[in-house]
């Protein structure tokens, strides 16, 4: 059953990511981004990172994509016009694809030498959360607190950026 889940969610994530990149209406792109993030969260589950999958759904899909949708509906986002395919766009996409092909070949040459495969290690969900919790709150406590301060500063910054000029 394991490889089937990987292939299903991999295909879904690539399809939805293509929709994000190539669709013309912004609100459809936002929904496709939510679907992509759900597929990536499912891939996290196949990698036995249960805590991260739930955190991704709560934070990314539940807050970031919703924020994007609010902003799209707030601003007057029209559809993009029929795109003119210019030469430089084709060259750019070709270059990026060539770069990816180099990366792909480099990764695949290691396939014959690799002996690590995806094996379900018989973990219960609670064990992953317990281990992540221990690591986060004991080992990485300082970055955790600093991230809290960072979020506070972010909130202050957002309020500051949208304040009307009070000098009149």
């Amino acid at each position: 059953m394991e490889p089937l889940f990987f292939w299903i969610f991999a295909a879904a994530s690539i399809a939805m990511a293509s929709l994000v990149v190539f669709h013309r209406r912004p609100i459809a792109c936002a929904l496709a981004l939510a679907a992509t993030l759900f597929s990536i969260a499912s891939l996290f589950v196949t990698l036995e990172a249960f805590f991260l999958a739930v955190v991704q759904i709560i934070v990314y899909v539940g807050a970031v994509v919703v924020l994007f949708s609010f902003i799209i509906m707030l601003l007057d986002s029209n559809e993009e016009q029929k795109r003119k395919i210019s030469w430089i766009k084709i060259i750019g996409i070709g270059l990026i694809t060539a770069l990816f092909a180099i990366f792909f070949s480099g990764v695949m040459t290691g396939l014959a030498n690799s002996d690590s495969s995806l094996v379900w290690k018989d973990q219960i969900m609670g064990e992953n959360i317990r281990k992540v919790g221990k690591l986060l709150f004991v080992g990485y406590m300082l970055p955790f607190l600093i991230t809290g301060v960072l979020l506070l500063l972010t909130t202050m910054g957002v309020v500051l950026l949208n304040r009307k000029d009070s000098s009149q």
């Binding site: 990149v21 936002a30 981004l33 891939l43 990314y60 495969s117 080992g139 972010t154």
Partner: protein
């Protein structure tokens, strides 16, 4: 070792590379500022997927903690970035990248 039935680390890395490439193409090609920002988030997620794959195949949980912080910081960045977009929209009344060319030489 059949490629289709045995899922190795390489499969996850190639998938992460494909998603990153798609996000990069989106950042360079699209003309709407908000869609460019969404493709940027897609790139961040591709990197997170690679990190979690490494964490699984090396049985080391440190990479999952890093992804946790990446998710938190990315959410903060999206909040500030969209506040900037809204402030920019108030002045210029557009989100099309061709019209936002004051800094162009």
């Amino acid at each position: 070792m059949n490629i289709l039935t045995t899922i190795t680390l390489n499969h996850y890395l190639v998938l992460s590379g494909i998603l990153f490439t798609l996000g990069l193409i989106g950042v360079l090609v699209r003309k709407n500022l908000i869609i460019v920002y969404m493709c940027l988030e897609l790139m961040l997620n591709a990197a997170s997927l690679a990190l979690v794959a490494f964490s699984h195949f090396n049985s080391n949980l440190d990479a999952q903690i890093m992804v946790f912080f990446i998710i938190a910081v990315a959410a903060a960045e999206v909040a500030v970035g969209l506040a900037l977009v809204v402030a920019l929209f108030r002045v210029k009344q557009t989100t099309h990248l061709d019209d936002l060319s004051i800094l162009k030489l």
